[in-house]
Symmetry: C2
């Protein structure tokens, strides 16, 4: 069974990166690639890359490398993005507008099935071929379009409520851009993106560098 072994979380994250890199490489016309070369392009160690790929099975050729097209298919299958997966986006403000207009959505295996907002003034607005709908429509769209992923781009104080509505509608994975901790039942996955947290981590390392410098003086 190719799905027998459990794939580590860290590996899954890198698989997504490999897939992206393979995309540009195959656009460049390359048909096979060695673990060393792909690892370089993805910014990781080649041993790590090989171990990551080994979780999917072994379809490299020793002495040659991997066939780019085969790798892409294997990784896509593993990540479940062989066909476009539907997502809904809730909160069409500053950030929501940018996300709604983002081309990378479509090219990386996802389709926006609906845009939603609570503000009546936003409802009806058209963004890149979609119309913003009211929250009342959410459940129907999720059910009808088999949406499994919801993206939250509302203010933090609305995030938990929106999350609850998404889950109630049948969404089982959530990507949260609001700076708020969401509580959900065990069968729902949540990932968060917090700009300020990322900056603060960088800031921490800056702090460190400065301290090290001082120690030298």
């Amino acid at each position: 069974m190719s799905e027998g072994r459990a794939i580590p979380e860290a590996t899954v994250a890198r698989l997504a990166v490999y897939l992206r890199v393979l995309g540009s490489l195959s656009d460049g016309g390359l048909s096979t690639i060695s673990s060393e070369a792909l690892a370089n392009a993805a910014g990781v160690n080649s041993a790590k890359l090989r171990k990551d790929l080994s979780y999917l099975g072994s379809f490299g050729t020793r002495g040659v490398g991997y066939v780019v097209q085969v790798l892409r298919e294997q990784i896509s299958t593993c990540l479940g993005v062989t066909e476009h997966r539907s997502v809904v986006l809730v909160g069409v403000g500053n950030l929501g507008h940018a996300l709604a207009g983002y081309a990378g959505f479509g090219s990386r295996g996802f389709r926006i099935a609906g845009l939603f907002d609570a503000d009546p003034r936003r409802i009806g607005e058209g963004i890149s071929g979609l119309t913003v709908q009211g929250m009342d429509e959410l459940a129907a769209v999720v059910a009808q379009e088999a949406v499994s992923i919801g993206v939250i781009a509302t203010p933090a104080d609305a995030a938990q409520e929106v999350c609850d509505r998404l889950v109630a509608a049948g969404v089982t994975s959530i990507l949260n851009f609001a700076p708020a901790v969401l509580s959900v039942s065990d069968n729902v996955d949540v990932r968060k993106v917090d700009l300020a947290v990322e900056l603060q981590i960088l800031s921490f390392h800056e702090q460190r560098k400065a301290a090290g410098l001082k120690a030298v003086l």
Copy 2:
């Protein structure tokens, strides 16, 4: 020496979250908090939280908990955000506009020192009190405003070039929103945010759930 032990990367990421949570709690008027309560609010295990805080020293009171204000100061100091840290943003397109207008920047310890874009049509545009400048101005602003962090929100194919210019100007930490792997020298830190990667990780787990369901049938 309070900075004696090395703080694990994972802990640093959580410290930023604790800081955010403590912010809303102290706005709510709370003056002390137990590890249990804070852990709940931050969505982590209380033992983990205590271990995280222990890296900064030990300033909790047994039987009582932590003084919110003290904790905030300690974490802020550790993360290097006691005073506002300056950042520059390069690439004022869809995403860049949203970032430039983001209030969370200021409230979480950062100040946008400049907005930059290569497109002459964007230069001169005003966004939330700042004017978009040309790339020629970058080096001067970085030097003058002591900028240590650069944010890249340009298309992927421009990211490496922009990164190089930022580093040449003196920036030593980079937050990259473009789906591209950046190569930098060892003294520069890079963090990336890739929407599609996040979605693909969620997609993987959806895949898993679906497979598990099939196994039951």
